[in-house]
Symmetry: C2
Subunit: 323 residues, 2 copies
């Protein structure tokens, strides 16, 4: 085996036939959460490879910080807790510490936090951008401070970005519902504000359905009863497609559709937790893998910090599931 | 008016007759989220008082950091996102930046993070402790690094702690259900591990009901169908009291009780979000105020940083509601 080949967490998981979350747990010493057999197997694979905790040691020898900043667009989202846990699982196995900042969906806050991260000389930054300014991270790039974007693309063609396949998975899900006989989609989303995930998902709907309508809502001040006419919920050919889990759960809980098991699924959306599945076990939803997105972002960032990142890789896509 | 009296966010909210969340929004410039009248009133009150952004300026003049570390026991909990948002709302109005660490319910991780916070010379720390060691923060105390504990008490009688009234609000809720005719309580909780919030809530149940049983579950590997006999759910005199919201939601979604509106409420618990209320609008739950707990912890911490904290205040209780 070539000892110089740097393995990723996905390589190790594949070799061992376990999930990446299991590898992360192993790297963090949470051995009580797996069988002894799995732990022994992982230990062996890791000993045989160069997947060792050495990046931070190099960093500290250069008298640089071992803190990595993670700026989330809104920490109220379960999505951000999960990708942060994924980031930390990789960082801590290599001696780094992840710290979380909340830009609270506000571009002014975001730029203040970025200035602080820049000035305090963090080892690197993972950013879920609120701003869509392509020059957003230019200062970091010019100064060779490693940055990885997560979840959202700012379209500068320069930054390394870890996203999911928003367009494709939406298109795939919509084809399923088209085949079920739906002829119209009502899309319910927070204000789009040119945010790439929202733009791509809407494009995925429109690539399949000729008829769609868009409802932008502020999730903090939502009253579904005010919306009920717009939602067109009693039209059996109208699919409700909800881009944000909290809105989806409210809608599932507020309609009477779930009480009548013979009515086919008429509501779907993107989910981050198992809660929608508790409410509607037979429904299909689009589920992202935020933990794996975070773990991957951290691996790419560490590769940049240790200057091992091949420069031509600009985007990594972690597919979502529709099931 | 005495200009030397330092007002708290609660004082200002009381004077203005608005919520503390509104004051926080005002301090953070989110003026679009309140009426002009409210904004003008708050501006006037703040101008008349000494509630100004000066702490960080003093700090920076002393060449100290303006970063405050917040170590959460598990950032998957909506509770921690909310208290972090409360902390940040106060800190940022005074020029400080809050950063969030996740100890992942693990005492080893917690002590590694605390060591890092200590070594990197943060301005202060808000800690939701996992360990129950009364000596946990001795190093910080001895070195006069300001620390405030949140949510959980470590019983050292020394640290300033912001908690809710776990015992009293549980007792109050249990008296309500005793009056409804229940004669037994099944308590469902994560492993207690001597964590003060869990201990106090259980004591609150036992102060009212002679008969109670305790089920400790690991929320990551929960299968309610395996538990169904233990839960004794079909006994109309048995109340299910769930200490963790995610378990409560699973239980609400999995039982058929909600489908039959004539059956009186037989499940309650502590909630952090509105989701249980979406599922069961007529049920009563215990709701904490994590945003206000965080805002209060930040105020106390800032008072310590600027050495204005009266030394005799050791515990601040932010009451929960049962409604």
């Amino acid at each position: 085996m070539d000892k110089n080949k740097k393995l990723t967490i996905v390589d190790i998981a594949t070799k061992a036939g376990v999930s990446t979350a299991t590898v992360s747990r192993f790297l963090n010493g949470q051995l009580n959460q797996m069988s002894e057999k799995t732990a022994v197997k992982l230990q062996k694979i890791i000993e045989e490879t160069s997947y060792t905790r050495n990046v931070a040691a190099v960093q500290l020898a250069k008298q640089k910080s071992n803190l990595v900043a993670v700026i989330a667009s809104n920490i109220d989202e379960y999505f951000s807790s999960e990708y942060f846990k994924g980031i930390v699982s990789i960082l801590s196995a290599q001696g780094f510490i992840g710290v979380l900042f909340d830009s609270n969906s506000n571009t002014t806050t975001e730029s203040a936090l970025m200035a602080s991260v820049y000035n305090q000389k963090f080892a690197g930054m993972v950013l879920q951008p609120v701003s869509t300014d392509p020059h957003l991270i230019e200062k970091f790039t010019n100064d060779a401070v490693p940055v990885v974007l997560i979840d959202r693309d700012i379209g500068n063609g320069q930054s390394i970005t870890v996203t999911t396949n928003n367009f494709q998975v939406t298109k795939y899900a919509m084809e399923h519902f088209l085949n079920q006989g739906f002829n119209k989609v009502t899309i319910i989303t927070e204000p789009i504000n040119r945010i790439s995930t929202r733009v791509e998902r809407i494009a995925g709907v429109r690539s399949v359905f000729d008829h769609s309508q868009l409802i932008e809502v502020d999730s903090d001040h939502l009253n579904f009863s005010e919306l009920s006419d717009e939602l067109d919920i009693n039209n059996p050919k109208n699919l409700l497609f909800v881009l944000k889990e909290r809105l989806l759960i409210q809608l599932l809980a507020n309609t009477k559709l779930l009480n009548e098991p013979k009515i086919p699924q008429r509501i779907t959306g993107f989910i981050d937790t198992s809660m929608p599945k508790y409410l509607a076990p037979n429904y299909k939803f689009i589920q992202q893998s935020p933990f794996l997105m975070g773990a991957t972002a951290a691996e790419v960032l560490l590769a940049q910090i240790s200057a091992k990142q091949p420069e031509h890789i600009k985007q990594i896509v972690i597919p979502s599931k529709f099931e």
